[in-house]
Symmetry: C2
Subunit: 165 residues, 2 copies
DNA sequence: CTGTATCCCGGACGATACTG
DNA sequence: CAGTATCGTCCGGGATACAG
């Protein structure tokens, strides 16, 4: 059985005495490997988003990172229901620390997703609200959350099976 | 001017001599703050997703975490174009280390989003492919990426303005 | 009430070396 | 080729203390 290879192949000599690529008896009785030259006949499901690693692509990461932030989604979801004050948010989102809530809100504000309105009274009254831009993100993220809810059972099942080897 | 307050209020005595809540002259001439008892008249944009912090809600985090993983989206996007071998993926995703690519693929495989097919030949040939479940995630995530691409300029503008104070 | 300022830890990630 | 193993770094984020 002969093995041919496509692509930039690196030849390596292994301690075990194996020299790659080489001809070896094939346990599975596997067939011949031929030129796998993969022409660009992709399904083109992703609109050249991550295909081309250009500027825009890298900046997309920032959005993903924001969504990935531990508390951002919860905050957006809460504000999606109605404008909230700082400690209202804190109470509405179990487990969030003051530090992280502040940081998350600052980040969202910086990105133009949330507005922060300070009312000059004592005690201070600060209201947070979703901007129109923030609301569009809420819609999009809701779709992702919907997917998650729809397929969590599938994922759980897959994990159990995988972990069982 | 009198200030009334709703909610579980904690009284604090500050070093500066201020006692909260208290009556103070208000720079902005701000008005009276009345009972803010927020009845549950939310806009109900998020379908009780993060509203109720139940089991499912917590598990949604896992999906978000996976999406937030630094390389998961890139891998899914690549595999969304066509099945790939390990080092093909590595070359297609600039910057990813062998370690992280392996870890990412294992995670996706465990979640049932990617299949790993080992061909028993020498040298080893391992092909990764999106499962049907993985393809549905690709669709959903593409929507999010689309949002990102559509609004990156808005976000950049907001950041510049914010940073300028 | 609505925040800063510090300290500190664990986990994510990269670099490097090694293996079948 | 397709991985594991090990180590070191960095930083997200929790705990706590303090302030206007």
């Amino acid at each position: 059985m002969e093995v041919t290879y496509a692509g930039d192949l690196h030849w390596t000599y292994l301690e075990s005495g194996i020299f790659f690529p080489c001809v070896v008896s094939c346990p599975g009785g596997g067939g011949r490997i031929v030129n796998t030259s993969d022409g660009d006949l992709g399904r083109e499901r992703v609109p050249a988003l991550l295909a081309a690693r250009d500027d825009a692509t890298c900046r997309v990461r920032e959005v993903l990172d924001r969504v990935g932030e531990k508390w951002a989604i919860s905050v957006i979801a809460e504000l999606g229901k109605e404008p909230r004050r700082f400690n209202e948010l804190r109470r509405a989102i179990p487990g969030v620390s003051q530090r992280m809530l502040t940081a998350t809100l600052r980040g969202l504000e910086r990105d133009g997703l949330v507005t922060r309105a300070v009312h000059p009274v004592v005690p201070p009254r600060v209201e947070y609200e979703l901007t129109p831009l923030g609301e569009t993100l809420l819609d999009t993220v809701s779709a992702l959350l919907g997917w998650a809810l729809d397929h969590i059972d599938d994922i759980d099942k897959a994990r159990i099976e995988y972990d069982a080897h």
